[in-house]
Amino acid sequence: MKQLMLGNAAVARGLYEAGCCVISSYPGTPSTEITEEAVKYPEIYCEWAPNEKVAMETAFGACLAGKRAFCAMKHVGLNVAADPLFTMSYTGVNAGLVIGVADDPGMHSSQNEQDSRHYARAAKVPMLEPSDSAEALEFAKLAYELSEQFDTPVLLKMCTRVAHSQSIVETAPRVEPAVKPYEKNIGKYVMMPGNAIRRHPFVEERTRKLQAWAETASIDRVEPGRDHKIGIVTSSTSYQYVKEVCGDTYPILKLGMIWPLPDQKLIDFARSVEELVVVEELDPIVSNYCSALGLAPSGEYDLPRLGELSQNIVADRLTHTFPMGRTIDDPIPPRPPVMCAGCPHRGLFYTLSKNKCTVLGDIGCYTLGAVAPLSAMDMTLCMGASISAVHGFNKARGAEAESRTVAVIGDSTFMHSGLTGLANIAYNQSNSTVIILDNSITGMTGHQQNPTTGRNIKGDPAGKIDLEALCRAMGFERVRVVDPYDLKATDAAIKEELAAAAPSVIISRRPCALLKYVEHSAPLAVDPVKCVGCRSCMKIGCPAISIKGGKAQVDATLCVGCGVCEQLCGVKAFRSTKKEG
């Protein structure tokens, strides 16, 4: 059946059709929907793991047990899971194992724009790179065949424009591969030096075999062109931009497998054209590979190494013509993302800002605490870094820093990689203050459950980790919970814990205002007679509050009545719109 399908949903469909049985992932834009779509197929066991390393090792265990398995993550998640990846390359697989990784060129929702293709080369595992939803589905299935044929994990690389674009796919029924027998094989699966030394030659030989396969494989295909002045090597969404601009004017070598690359096919293609052009997003990986083969691509067509490509960028380099649009003279103010009205993080960041704290932050919705007017964040690096870094900051500067420096980390990020940092504080003893922002969900990626929510990926009851008990068990004697809607209590907690001569954890607890089960109070309104236009309520950066005609005004369609603004008003101008009785 033909249907319009999101790239990530098409990967999930491909996994289903290939008979995948176990999926373990950690959410991360733009990879999240693969697992959210896969869970809709009852034949596949799906779960959210605490982090990508755990997810990948879980998938490995499942493939070792004889069933086709999968894990998905964003590009930076693959950094976390790199450890198992590099050695899984040596062990190989039992049943097929596919790893979905989604890059985010242009950083729509990421802290960097690293190019995951480096991992395929570095870990010596094959990587397939679809260019639309139909290929996402097809390549997911092919990945399992390659995995089992060549005894290797296979990387399936998505990017934002393939993951989050819908295009037409044709679906097929699921095949149910027989469960592979599990046989103990110490030489293959126990990677101690003596065994790993014997596995490494297998890895090198496997790459040569995969290269030979690629020489004739149809996923690395030459599309003929009329004009042989240039020939274009490309893949993924870059291929779509090239087709948009050039149609079938120039010959194209369209790569479906980005690692390993078919040397002879590249050489033959380069010889068939006057000049070789490589169109690829981010790093010059294929370009440098061609150079190493002595096929130096023409420098005249060099593409930017920053951000996403587009048809205009490709057209600019290849045909030197592209349309220009009209504009108006007025400057258009930017519209950056903001914390939602009623976001529980707002009261906490306001309090940190008021106390002039140094705030070492982490990855999640609360990173928006860095945005004006709150501007209450000093550092964001990667998942879990807030806790480890506050310890280092305090060790470097001592008591002076300990009295005003905090780490802030969300509940999901804490479970992802905050625990080990906390263990370091407990063990090596800095008087650090760690604030866990427990909004009872993984927020930024669109509400995924995690080990602290008590629900699994299907929303069914699951194990629930008790954060207070966990911190106490690690040796923290000062563990307290505050409601971030209560500014006075939040302020007192922060002041006391910063002053305390012991490490402490503050759990700032209130569910995300967007969760369906959260009941909101009636919106607030401003009494224009009482309001003196002092702008005190503007310090919290709530999108529901603005100043019109010198007076504060509340947008009733956005306000959820959290009451944080009310606590800042010196003249009691805010009132509830709740009807009496």
């Binding site: 424009r161 007025d330 258009i332 103010p333 930017p334 919705c365 990626t445």
Partner: protein, 190 residues
């Protein structure tokens, strides 16, 4: 057929995903190749969001670039102006007149430009502006702005009304179907 381009622009959370879903369904039912491109994640939190809908006999790129849009459908005036450079020389803007202050305007760091509809027209754009929020509220919910806009957009398409109705029925949950049909009609007739 040459590829046609529709951009749906607005503020995160305004319902552009449902509008693009409706267009995707409608155009696929007409036998076109279709690509719809969305952005998920951080910008959905009240930021500027854009969805690209492309259709024709064969669509390659999933995105629309500067100077390429046949239609820009906008939930908010400032967003229409922000994406103006993406409009084709003879392209059409269909926009709600709603204004939502972005944070730099709220904090006083920037100001919201005035008379945007006139300025966009002066720049040579065809602009169809209407108060979609009022029409959506008249239909029964402020959230139906997306479907009011789709009703208005249907003016510019040479497609039978039944095709739009069929896609509405396929996309909108039954509970909200009547409301959204009203919203579509109000947008169409406005």
């Amino acid at each position: 057929m040459e590829t046609k381009n529709i951009m749906i622009v607005g503020v995160g959370g305004q319902g552009s995903l449902l509008a693009s879903k409706l267009l995707g369904h409608l155009l696929m039912e007409q036998g076109f190749d279709v690509k719809v491109s969305e952005v998920h994640g951080m910008s959905q939190r009240g930021g500027s969001v854009v969805t690209y809908v492309r259709y024709g006999s064969k669509v390659s790129s999933p995105v629309i670039d500067r100077g390429e849009a046949d239609y820009i459908v906008s939930f908010e005036l400032l967003e229409a102006a922000r994406w103006l450079s993406y409009l084709k020389p003879d392209g059409q803007i269909v926009t709600s007149t709603q204004q939502i202050d972005p944070m730099p305007v709220i904090t006083g760091a920037a100001s919201y430009p005035e008379d945007l509809v006139e300025k966009m027209r002066a720049a040579g754009a065809k602009v169809d502006a209407l108060d979609c929020l009022a029409l959506a509220e008249e239909a029964g919910s402020a959230k139906a702005v997306n479907i009011v806009l789709m009703g208005r957009l249907s003016h510019y398409f040479d497609l039978p009304d039944e095709a739009w109705q069929k896609s509405l029925e396929a996309i909108v949950p039954p509970k909200f179907l009547e409301l959204n049909k009203r919203a579509f009609e109000l947008g169409k007739k406005a």
